[in-house]
Symmetry: C2
Subunit: 312 residues, 2 copies
């Protein structure tokens, strides 16, 4: 099979042996695979794949057709359309994954949308509904509202009955983010739009002191992105006074059972909203697998609405 | 009535008008009232009483007999033994408080124990069982295990089926803390005894980076004391990698309904353990109200096991 490979900062397209599904696993012919910030970090050597994942093939999400089932795998039939989060290896023509880490693709979704759905929607749902425990009527702030996770979080927050504010650096993208359901504002001075019950922090450490200042009593800050800096100075008296909490998480390192649980929750609570049209996957651009280097460049350049997706 | 008063750093015993119970309130003849860190801060002018509490009479907890009921107050009869958390004003011969913020005193408890129970056990229970969501079999670290909240947390953790480690600066107090149910260790190098699922941070900011290093995957740090410093440097990548969370809280500023809920939980989950003898209130020293200045000095000197209590 052909696969995107990364090593020592270099990205290439290389031939690799076809993987074989083990017990409980399925082999998927990948049709589309989204690019995420983790891929960029992995290319730099900063975010190695977890044990059990291909060490040099990036890609945390994919969509495709089941072409083979390993011993005992029974959730899907050969030919079924599935999408999934994987620990790595998604950006290839073939991928193996445990059947319980896969979800069915609603028929309303085309391949690019399905290939760019899993990582961002599972991440956003876990962050704002799981960790953040967002409730109807609450106020949600999404930092970086135009990106993959950001566009997912804005839509999920609105669908959950929250009032959503999103910071969007690129002024030209604010109307599109507003159309997804948020008040779209500049990152500077976002605190004036609060207080917020849940803050989804996708930018990093420098935001955290202002996040805490803009937090409502009993509010929750959920950190899932740190591109702008990993250190945050925390005023504990302010945290206590707000009765606030700060949590952080990554999906990638979780054991199979937790990833599978996250998938089940998304199947139950999120996929019906794609069927009804309440949610969509904004795809900023598609690139064939062979043009992965260009796709990575486009991802890193920013200023896009939603996902960059590789297709095979 | 006589009351302890604080103003501009000065502590005195003064005559004040007897308070009158309003609707839903009870007037309590205080028999015992514990001293807490908040009283020391209030004396320094650093922690003003919340609206609705006497601005210059300290005291966050008390026990005594009901001597009068305001209009509509029906939970207790005149003569009943009650204990409570108040926003201030506990260190006086009389105090008024809402009947729903009071709890019955188990007959096994004498006045000094009852007067030193509410603040620390409600605080510790809310912190480790509420915010920390401690589960049986988990590992709990209590910083400052010999103090009022610390001795409460150690006992509550053990009663909940957790394995408890407590840092105790004063080596001479470690056997007594061990007897309450913890492995009692020096504050230096506590991380070697982890990883911990729940960390109760009673010391402050300087501990937080080490707390995070010693945290188990999915662990929770609960900050309720900041005597050693209010700023903490937080490594967000470590927080994400651990899938951890940090919360902070104070009881004092909460509205009546939340304080009342916390009382109901303690009535249901904690008071039965005093009746069975599984929990006790370690009282380090009792002082008559007139010797409040000496009592505050003793509190600040540290090196004690459990509570300093004023009696009337």
């Amino acid at each position: 099979m052909r696969a995107v490979t990364v090593a020592d900062g270099e990205l290439a397209i290389a031939e690799r042996p076809d993987p074989t599904p083990g017990p409980g696993e399925i082999l998927v012919a990948v049709r589309a695979a989204g690019i995420n910030g983790a891929d960029i970090l992995q290319r730099k050597g900063a975010y190695p794949a977890p044990p059990g994942s291909p060490p040099d093939i990036p890609g945390l999400e994919l969509a495709g057709e089941v072409v083979e089932r390993g011993p005992g795998a029974e959730r899907f039939a050969v030919g079924d359309r599935v999408m999934a989060i994987v620990g790595g290896g998604g950006q290839a023509e073939l991928a193996v994954l445990h059947e319980r880490a896969a979800m069915p693709v609603p028929e309303e979704l085309d391949w690019p949308a399905a290939g760019g759905l899993a990582e961002v929607f599972v991440t956003a749902h876990d962050a704002i509904m799981g960790q953040g425990e967002l409730r109807p009527g609450e106020r949600l702030l999404v930092h970086g509202g135009a990106g993959g996770v950001g566009t997912a979080a804005v839509q999920l927050g609105r669908a959950a009955g929250a009032r959503v504010t999103a910071t969007v650096r690129n002024e030209a993208l604010r109307p599109a983010v507003a159309e997804l359901g948020a008040e779209a504002v500049a990152p500077e001075g976002f605190g004036e739009h609060g207080p917020f019950d849940v803050v989804l922090e996708l930018v990093g450490g420098p935001n955290v002191p202002d996040d805490l200042r803009a937090l409502a009593t009993g509010g929750r800050i959920v950190v899932i992105g740190v591109g702008a800096g990993i250190k945050a100075e925390l005023n504990l008296v302010a945290l206590m006074g707000k009765r606030g909490r700060i949590s952080g998480s990554t999906l990638r390192a979780r054991p199979l059972e937790e990833k599978a649980l996250a998938m089940r929750r998304v199947e139950a609570e999120v996929l019906p909203l794609f069927r009804s049209g309440a949610l969509r996957v904004p795809v900023a651009a598609e690139f064939p697998l062979a043009e992965a280097a260009e796709a990575y460049e486009r991802f890193t350049a920013g200023g896009k609405l939603g996902k960059i997706v590789l297709t095979t």
